[in-house]
Amino acid sequence: MALNDLVVRLLRWFQGQEKSKETAKNRLRLILIQDRVGVDPGVVDSLREDLLALLTKYFDVNVEEMEVEIQRDEERTALVVNVPILTLKGRHPSDFRREREGATASQEKSEPSPADGSPNKGQKSRSEGSEEKASESSDQESPSATTSEIPKAAASSSAPRPSTDSGASSASSSSS
């Protein structure tokens, strides 16, 4: 028995795992907040999707770690959203405006862009499905090379314009 316990502890220590009791407590806290406030978890899920679709237009966000929850204490109920940002898309707001106008002007050129797609379509890695596999692997190896990521991210998540595309490819070649 004691040996068993020791083995369990060692294993957990090696794996750097949190004790399951802590996980249970945290999960319960969140579940009960939703239950008690009476918000249907489905509502929170679709809110999460909508928020994600909006946010990915401006930021490259960490989808997996994004938290959307309703918190309640004695006085108030609040929507708390925590979105880790991987990279800024790094463009001036006017770029977006111009882009939007450009997109309507050249509808026929637009391919399905990740920003419009639902976040559930397996977009865990930022540019999955894009043809720039080379640049993707290179930026995973050097996550600090933000300068190379900015144009790439922009390319992968906005309407394809010749200028951004070329910007992305030049950046990826410079980073490798």
Partner: protein
């Protein structure tokens, strides 16, 4: 006037029937006149857990439908003085009984008994409404697991809305070893979340399986950690102040000595 107490949980399989059988028996052994009512119509098993299945002739349904006298439907458990059960109909549905009918039945039982323990079915639908209808007090059985606590929380809200006296809870299947390893929510974690009075803790106890195999509630057998815990809870229900002990994993030797000498 007796005390009608519903034993409920929301989630199934957390120990409501085990608790009803053991608390009922323990209270009777302490000199109370007790009836345990199986409110799980269609899935009755209180009679089986108590080893009385061969004695079921009439059920609460027969009483409600006027097919037999209440006293004829009560099954006496000969192992304790003044212990009775009222079985549930097996071949009927929960919707065959209305809450008002159940409330009337419990009222009638209150006249004769010190305690009317009502073993509630799982769920929060009609079966729950029926079981709660006649009750004035409630005991919520919960295990230290996320799903059980979540359901308990829901049920506590429903009970409070129905205007019963503040429910108390029993923390069942508590494993000191897992708690020590950090792999089970401990009593303070559960208390913090449920925030209603704790009536007692029943440790995880494998002898419960043997006791249900035999149809003999634990509190009738040689003392086991869970049996002793049920007796303490029965005493607390009677108003005695008995602190809830810290549970520790039983060592092989203490178990050996308990089995050798332990009784009562």
């Amino acid at each position: 006037m007796g005390r009608p107490i519903v034993i409920t949980s929301g989630k199934g399989g957390v120990g409501k029937t085990t608790t009803a059988a053991n608390l009922g028996t323990a209270l009777a052994l302490l000199g109370q006149k007790v009836v345990v009512v199986d409110a799980d119509i269609g899935l009755r098993n209180l009679d089986v857990v108590m080893g009385l299945e061969s004695r079921v002739v009439f059920t609460s349904m027969d009483v409600i439908e006027g097919k037999c006298d209440l006293n004829k439907a009560l099954i006496r458990d000969k192992r304790a003085e003044n212990l009775y059960i009222l079985a549930a109909a097996q071949s009927r549905n929960k919707s065959d009984v209305q809450p008002e009918q159940m409330a009337r039945l419990v009222k009638e039982l209150e006249q004769q008994f010190d305690f009317v323990l009502i073993d509630c079915p799982a769920g929060i639908e009609q079966g729950f409404d029926n079981a709660v209808a006649g009750a004035q007090e409630a005991i919520v059985v919960v295990t230290p697991e996320v799903s059980s606590i979540r359901d308990a929380d829901r049920v506590i809200g429903l009970l409070q809305a129905k205007g019963l006296t503040e429910p108390r809870y029993i923390l069942n299947r508590y494993s000191p070893r897992l708690v020590e390893q950090g792999e089970m929510l401990d009593r303070s974690d559960v208390q913090e979340i449920l925030a209603i009075p704790l009536l007692g803790i029943i440790p995880e106890d494998q002898t419960i399986i043997a006791s249900t195999n035999r149809g003999k509630p634990l509190v009738l057998e040689a003392s086991t950690p869970a049996g002793a815990a049920y007796v303490r809870i029965a005493r607390r229900l009677l108003g005695e102040e008995i602190p809830i002990p810290e549970f520790r994993e039983e060592t092989g030797w203490s178990r050996f000595f308990r089995m050798l000498f332990g009784r009562g």
